[in-house]
Structures are given as structure tokens and as C-alpha cells.
Symmetry: C2
Amino acid sequence: MNFSSKLLENAVAEFARLPGVGQKTALRLVLHLLNQDKADVEKFSSTISKLRNEIQFCKVCHNISDHAVCEICASPKRDKTTICVVEDTRDVMAIQNTNQYNGVYHVLGGLISPMDGIGPSDLQVDTLVERMKENEVKEVIFALSATMEGDTTLFYLHKRLKDFHISISTIARGIAFGGELEYVDEITLGRSIATRVPYEGSLSR
Amino acid sequence: MNFSSKLLENAVAEFARLPGVGQKTALRLVLHLLNQDKADVEKFSSTISKLRNEIQFCKVCHNISDHAVCEICASPKRDKTTICVVEDTRDVMAIQNTNQYNGVYHVLGGLISPMDGIGPSDLQVDTLVERMKENEVKEVIFALSATMEGDTTLFYLHKRLKDFHISISTIARGIAFGGELEYVDEITLGRSIATRVPYEGSLSR
């Protein structure tokens, strides 16, 4: 693109480096910011800078936090004997929104992906193993994506944890609630038949 | 959404105010920035702040510029007798990319849109009329979107300019190059029949 201004070009280049944002979208966002008040744009810019400089990661579960220990880990109401292992903070938010889980979390910060050069040492794996040793942990629930990377990570972590005396489980896979059978893919449907659960008059939640 | 951090929540809120960016996309962008080096995020933030504070608008054509007069208006190679009237800087870039136009521009900064409360006084209309008086302008070409707002603006500007001794034109409307007839909408097709052009053995560019 031929920009009429170097400042504009630089700003568009910065936005275009964000995931899923191309040159045209970046230009639209930048022109939108140009139409805003100076104070609003200053707030936008300083909020982002502040986020990056002041953000902390909980030293127990490694979730994003404003404090050294996050609210969930610090709460006396949460069950510290159950740890739910997730990929990132979005998964913590998703599970928190279900109101079905009262244990604590462990945020890996990614999944093992040889294709992208991400191995166990890039993730919070050793700290998870440490938590097994130090704490009164009784159960570990893996809530990882049902993808190649998720399954690889699950396999690896199970190997690392299986010698501790804890129960290890993974969240159930099968057809989603509201899912119409004819639209479910074959692998999911096949596995959900193989892993059928007893039915005694009502669906357990 | 339940954010684990106030800093994170603020940053997501700022991104979610951008056009076409919802909460989930905003969160994805913010988490991406959190994974970047501090220096990179600082550069992102300062580039945007700098853009808003230092950007100028050409005092002749009102296009975005780094200087008081933009490169196009300052260039001795451009034909100052022809002015192309456009909505915003994106249109200038699009027309510049065609390499078909050697005149100068006038950027309105928007289109007349009573629904959005945008009237002629919110746009660079008076400065366009001033340019007619002061300069050696011979032709004005309107290159506005073929929408309700574009047509309204065209109608209004024609009324303001028609008493000056200049030729006024608007860019051609019709089927696009590569356009298959069966997919063209009825209004465009109907108008392109009504405004058919003589054919003498070759298509003029």
C-alpha cells in the first residue's frame, strides 16, 4: 500500500502484526483511532503498555493475575486437593463460567507441539510435578483441547504424573448438548459409542 | 467474562471498543501481546500514541500527512487543474494504486449521512468551494461510494459547485471487470444498460 504518511504506515504495520489482522483491517482500526479524542487514544496506548509491564503470573497456578498469588489460589473456599490442568487463561475463564468446578487450576501456558517447536520445557510442567510432591493433591483433571497437541500433552503429562498416588482424569468427550446426531463427525460419534455411559432414568449433570 | 486480572480486563475493554472487535477477539489480541517482548509491546503502544499526537492533515487537500502540505499537493508533476473528491484517505490510496490519475485530491473526511448526524458542516465542503475560487481548477471528479450516503453527498456538492465554470464528472458505474453477468445485481445491470457506451472495435481503458 502507498501510505501518505510514515506515521500512519508505522501504526498500520504494528496492528497488522496482531493475529488475524491484515493490512486492510489494520488500516481501518488505525483510521478509527485517528478519529477518536487524543485522550482516548492515550488511554488505549497506556493501558496496553501498563498491562505488559505490570501483569503478574500467579506463582502457584501461573494464571494471569494482579497479585503474586491469584484470587482462586488465595481463596480459602476452593478445594486445594483437586487441580484442573488447562492450556491458558481463557480456559480458566471458560471453566469458571460453568460454575461446576470448585478446585484450583494449573495453567500450562501452551500445549506440546513439535511442529511449532514447543516442548515440555517451554511449559509449566515441572512446576506441576512439584505441586504433586508438596501439596495434599488427590486428583488431577486434564481439561485440554481435543486436538493432536492436546492429546500429545495429555499423554506426556500422564506419564509424568502416574507414579504419584493421585487419581487422574480427563474431561468427557462426546456429542455436545444440543448436538444433532447427523451433524456430528464420525470420530466423535464412534468414540462416544465406545465410551457409552450407563443410563438409569436421568442424565447426570 | 470473569477476568482474573483488572489490568487484563481494562486492556480487553480498550480493544473491544475498536470497530469489528468483540470481547473474544479482544482477549485473543491482548493475550498475544502478553506473549510478546516488553520492547515490542512498548513499540506498539508508543507508535499509536505518536500517530495520534503528531499526525497532520494537508492544509490543501486534507489528506493524512506528515507535513503541512502533503506530497501529492506539493509535487510539481501533478496536474493542479483537476481535483478528485473522495471520502477518506483509503480512497486516495486506492486511486493512487491504479496509476491512472495524475491530478490532485480533496478529502471530505466522510459522507453526508443524516442518519448518523453528519451534515455538510462536518465535512471539508467549504474548503472545497474555496479551492474553486482561488485556483485554476478546470475539472472536478467525484469518486464517492455508490451508496445512499455517497449519492446524497454527490447531489449536494454538485449544487454547490455547478455555478463555477468547471466540468464536473463522477466515476463510471457499471459491471466490474471480470464480473459475470448472471451474478450482477439488477440495479447495476439496469443502469449499465441505460448508460451504455459506444463500442468501436476495442474497449477504452
